[in-house]
Symmetry: C2
Subunit: 297 residues, 2 copies
């Protein structure tokens, strides 16, 4: 069925009545860069006033959930840590609750403090941060697998080193059963004027060297959604994923059996949304801010 355009008060009312939970991608939906989308604060308040549960889902593993709350506050949006679900947090939930990560084992982390903090919060010891020393062909033999490592966790790491990659490679290839988890596989990373190599690009090194495929938590892959569904005990039939990208956000919702709402304030335009070979959103709307009209009713 072709995506349904929402443009009238009746459309908005029907949408809000139909779902108990709304999951939101942030960039392109709630904000663009450092500016909030017009009226989005009012829309989120209206949804809260009607008792809806709001969950913000981000592939960004570099920022902690607390930092996200600060970013929301700066934009005039109230949100709590409990409402934010990042790929780093999903990794922690997955390792502790799904993989039942043994307490005597360690995770070798390539990534920033966002991932390390989330893992520490669920009681997982991390190593790898200090593997920044130089190495060369003659000293490479110093780099050994660590038998205590039961998972390699990979996220964006601006302090990547060959030593880290070599350690991760050895743990993945020589430690029996070592898990291989990536926070996300975004090919590029938007950063100011340009795009830069993303987590997915950096990750290619280990996929190629180890010939192993990681479990990728973030959108459009399903493990992060599985974690969200488990944590909040969501009913897919009463949940709607809101996003601006068909190949990540909308596909993510579809894979999880959720309804989906695509907004036009980010990447996708109307032609892309109506393209029959693209992932088919359930609904689309000019802007999440448009729903604020319901607040007056």
């Amino acid at each position: 069925m072709a995506p349904q355009k929402l443009s009238t008060l009746t459309d908005y009312q029907t949408l809000v009545d139909k779902y108990d939970t709304f999951l939101f991608d942030c960039d392109g939906v709630i904000w663009r860069g450092s500016t909030a989308i017009v009226n989005v604060q009012a829309t989120l308040s209206m949804l809260r006033n009607r008792g809806k549960r709001l969950i913000f889902v981000t592939n960004n593993s570099g920022t902690s959930r607390k930092d996200y709350v600060t970013k929301f506050a700066k934009l005039g949006i109230q949100a709590s840590v409990e409402e934010i679900f990042s790929s780093a947090y999903a990794t922690a939930v997955y390792l502790s609750e799904v993989a039942r990560f043994p307490s005597n084992k360690k995770a070798y982390v390539i990534g920033g403090s966002g991932i390390r903090n989330e893992l520490h919060d669920v009681g997982i010891t991390t190593i790898g941060e200090d593997d920044t020393g130089p190495v060369n062909l003659a000293t490479l033999a110093e780099v050994e697998p660590n038998p205590d490592v039961a998972a390699v966790v990979f996220g964006i790491d601006y302090d990547i080193t060959y030593r880290k990659l070599a350690n991760a490679h050895l743990n993945l290839t020589l430690n029996p059963g070592c898990l291989f988890i990536a926070t996300n596989d975004d090919r590029t990373l938007p950063g100011g004027k340009h795009v830069y190599p993303g987590t997915g690009a950096m990750l290619s090194t280990l996929i190629h060297s180890t010939q192993r495929s990681p479990l990728v938590m973030g959108k459009p892959n399903t493990p992060m959604l599985d974690c969200v569904m488990q944590k909040y005990q969501l009913d897919p039939a009463r949940s709607c994923m809101v996003g601006d990208r068909l190949d990540t956000d909308i596909l993510f919702g579809i894979k999880g059996g959720l309804s989906t709402l695509c907004v036009l304030t980010g990447v996708a335009d109307e032609a892309a949304i109506l393209d029959p070979v693209a992932p088919q959103a359930t609904y689309y709307i000019s802007s999440l801010g448009d729903l604020c009209e319901l607040a007056a009713n």
Copy 2:
């Protein structure tokens, strides 16, 4: 035609008479690690005494040709810089002689001094070495393409940084006509007890982020051989490639229209050599050292 086993003096004599030039892979053929293959010095002397041209071909881009000469000398083997052809040197030859690299342009190099020195020797200015400073999401916008960069050259770099990768990515995606050259695409790198991520694995990051395919100089790709053939004006019908790996050395020789000799002192064993679906060597022999028997004749 199935590979022909060489095991008698007559076989050896026929081989040596048939070719003017012998090209050698080094590791697994001339040496293993830091030990020369038995009798290989005598074989090489015998070939020199008979007026054969010897060329040593290596994918290693981290070591300069002068350092290679030193390694040969330590193993009791006389060799000259002129006889050594590395993927770093091939890159320099390619850029200067085939691509006619403009003298007012620069090469952005991810790689070690082996590559930089070879490029400097042909008059190419390199940058990138100093891009080791930290970067983060907030400072990423400082990383800009350099319009003077007309080639990104990628080899093994034990001092890899995100900043280098970001710079290379921007030059490759935003500088029109920017060349993308890799010294080799070896998936892994042998280093002591273990194997570690190789140039090809590290290179995956930029291939994935830029969606571009580099020109790969090293074995089993043909550009390095094209450079060898051009430099020495070799007749393929009178040249024989000697190696221990079917999927790199032997395939490299086959692609160049050369005869090939596979030795059993490295990776390939007799079963692999005789596997009809593997690259088919022209000849195989237990060890390059066996040919030294001709010296007494």
